[in-house]
């Protein structure tokens, strides 16, 4: 699965998490910041993590991925970081 495909699917999951988010208003790109652009709360990332595991299987462990990062790194997380992680995990599955 390509990063582009994963990125598009993550965009759909983000829309589910934010429930009504206007995806055309802020296009989701690899540079989109969860905090600054999407106003993600920390709990929104938890919900996104469960959706990712449901979509891609237990090999996608967002809690494990985030626990290797400092809080400032989590706050500045971008969609591309997550897409890269998912793509890499799927390649090694």
């Amino acid at each position: 699965m390509t990063t582009e495909t994963v990125l598009a699917e993550i965009g759909d999951l983000i829309r589910q998490v934010l429930d009504g988010y206007d995806i055309d208003a802020v296009p989701i790109t690899p540079d989109t910041s969860f905090d600054a652009d999407l106003a993600f709360e920390s709990i929104d990332l938890v919900v996104l993590g469960t959706l990712l595991t449901e979509r891609y299987g237990p090999g996608i462990d967002l809690a494990g991925f985030l626990s290797t990062r400092s809080l400032p790194e989590i706050i500045t997380l971008r969609v591309g970081d997550l897409a890269g992680y998912v793509t890499a995990r799927l390649e090694h599955a």
């Binding site: 920390s42 709990i43 990332l45 938890v46 626990s67 809080l71």
Partner: protein
């Protein structure tokens, strides 16, 4: 997203199931104005990897749980936890980790339901007492005085909050203060003891404290309230250990849990 109705409130719950069959349940209880994310970002995955069925939830009024107007005292929070455990069908003993207020709730649960708790880890927490309620009231007053000044809140936390966290903390505090009775409920002294009788807590206990925290300055008094327990001090850190010292917390929690994973609650004494 999973929700469970407990004690009349809809609570948001997430599980990180262990790959080990028959893994004991571990319930993670977050602090005030926080969410289960504080664990999700820090130690939850490692605890699950150790062989625990990790259950994290958002307290009432927090995260994605329902926000009723009332019911934010320590006993209501304990009832919420008891109801959650029942609704999830957990019948055996549970292990608990609580941070700050979540640890105070965990202390209360272990006191009220000693036969249900196999082990207890509290991070920057103390058991609910009259003196604790008074100190917490002072702390909430300080926070209330700076709700429109996130930078001051960050400074009051001795630099231990990044600006984005401080902004969110103050916004959540404003929302909760306006829409709920949390501020009054949390510091309600009704039913709180001044001290506890010997042997009031009978499960293995690990207390983790930041070396620069306000609680650390009173550590002897806190430990005096407790039965013999293990204490780990994380040097150079303030209150927000899960956020800013997750690796040090994991280094304290994981070996301790490894030796207490098969702990059983004390037998019920009639």
């Amino acid at each position: 997203m999973a929700h469970v109705n407990s004690n009349g409130v809809r609570l948001h719950v997430q599980r990180l199931p262990s790959k080990v069959a028959g893994a004991p349940p571990m319930i993670l209880i977050h602090g005030l104005l926080d969410t289960m994310a504080s664990y999700y970002f820090s130690i939850a995955a490692a605890v699950a990897g150790l062989g625990f069925d990790v259950i994290a939830y958002d307290l009432r009024g927090h995260g994605r749980s329902e926000r009723p107007r009332q019911g934010y005292g320590v006993d209501a929070a304990t009832d919420d936890l008891a109801g959650l455990i029942e609704e999830l069908g957990v019948t055996g003993p549970v292990h608990l980790i609580g941070f700050s207020w979540g640890g105070t709730v965990a202390f209360r649960y272990a006191h009220r339901f000693p036969h249900r708790v196999a082990s207890l880890i509290v991070i920057e927490s103390e058991p609910p007492t009259v003196a604790w309620a008074d100190r917490t009231a002072d702390g909430l007053r300080d926070l209330s005085a700076h709700l429109n000044d996130p930078e001051e809140v960050a400074r009051a936390e001795l630099g231990a909050l990044v600006p984005a966290m401080a902004r969110r903390l103050t916004r959540k505090a404003r929302e909760l203060a306006v829409s709920t009775t949390l501020v009054e409920d949390v510091v309600d002294r009704t039913g709180l003891a001044a001290v506890y009788p010997p042997g009031w807590l009978r499960c293995p206990l690990l207390l983790i404290v930041g070396g620069e925290s306000r609680l650390h300055a009173r550590l002897d008094g806190i430990v005096g309230l407790l039965p013999p327990c293990d204490v780990v001090v994380v040097p150079g850190h303030h209150h927000q250990l899960l956020a800013f010292a997750p690796q040090q917390v994991a280094a304290a929690v994981l070996p301790w849990l490894a030796t207490h994973r098969t702990a059983r609650p004390p037998a019920v004494v009639s």
